[in-house]
Symmetry: C2
Subunit: 165 residues, 2 copies
């Protein structure tokens, strides 16, 4: 089973005591058939991505340096991916040719809410980011989620501007 990043990099950051049916692991190439894109569809528009397109993008991420650290939770009872969050690392020249990390695409299956799976993933990503040596981690969120993310050490910072094409 091909992983989008090395499972041994993730292992030290996975908390003990998870329910037996919930496996935390890197995104895998066969998660196309485990509902990964349906899960992302609960977050935003995914569009029509067939298996070939999924695997092509997966492969581009897998060989990327730094890796795309896409962490998922699979419910082994249903064989479905039920939560996902990503730590994307950007190389810099500033801060001693350092790197910064971004928390991206956090989503928990609506049927699996209130089990703190989002919190589990956030703690993992922050711990992983520290271990990778990023000098800063950041995320974008709606105002309603400020209290949620503040639990994991994030503080409201500067302005964030966007434009869409």
């Amino acid at each position: 089973m091909s992983s989008v990043f090395d499972a041994s990099v993730l292992a030290p950051h996975v908390p003990p005591g998870m329910p037996e049916n919930l496996i935390i692991r890197p995104l895998a190439k066969d998660d196309f058939s485990k509902g990964y894109l349906d899960l992302l569809g609960q977050l935003t528009s995914v569009g029509n991505i067939d298996q070939e397109a999924f695997e092509k993008r997966f492969e581009a991420m897998r060989v990327s340096v730094p890796n795309y650290h896409i962490v998922v939770i699979e419910n082994t009872e249903t064989g479905k991916v039920v939560a996902s969050a990503s730590l994307v690392v950007e190389m810099k020249f500033i801060h001693d040719a350092g790197s910064r990390g971004r928390v991206e695409d956090v989503v928990v299956d609506s049927a699996m809410r209130r089990q703190k799976l989002g919190a589990v993933l956030l703690k993992i990503l922050v711990s992983l980011g520290k271990s990778l040596g990023v000098y800063k981690m950041s995320l974008e969120c709606v105002p309603e989620l400020l209290p949620f993310y503040s639990q994991f050490g994030f503080k409201d910072d500067c302005n964030f501007m966007t434009q869409r094409f």
Copy 2:
């Protein structure tokens, strides 16, 4: 001269009518000796990066897919890099396995202010982002810079949270 990304990708986005002594081009490997890190030092902490460390990071960015689109302006009269701005592209599964772009590390030499070099670079990055097909471009800024960036199509959006290690 090695470029951090293909100069032919940049060329269509460079405006005509620049002063003859100002060359707009991708960051090059020999910009270590042209004051690139001193320029970044006007933005934030750079630390001690020797030529070997610079070239190592440069090479990692150069071979990265997607590329790090670091655009600089060189003053050929002084042989110094006097402005820089970067477009960093992140691959996604969402939005039809799309990509988003981020404007990073915008800096203009304090001796070269009021010549609209920042505006020149921003227009280039937005044009480049569109041509690369990113579905969204974003940036972080202090409130004082909202009017500046709004000129290039950016609008104040959601909250932005950070933590530093």
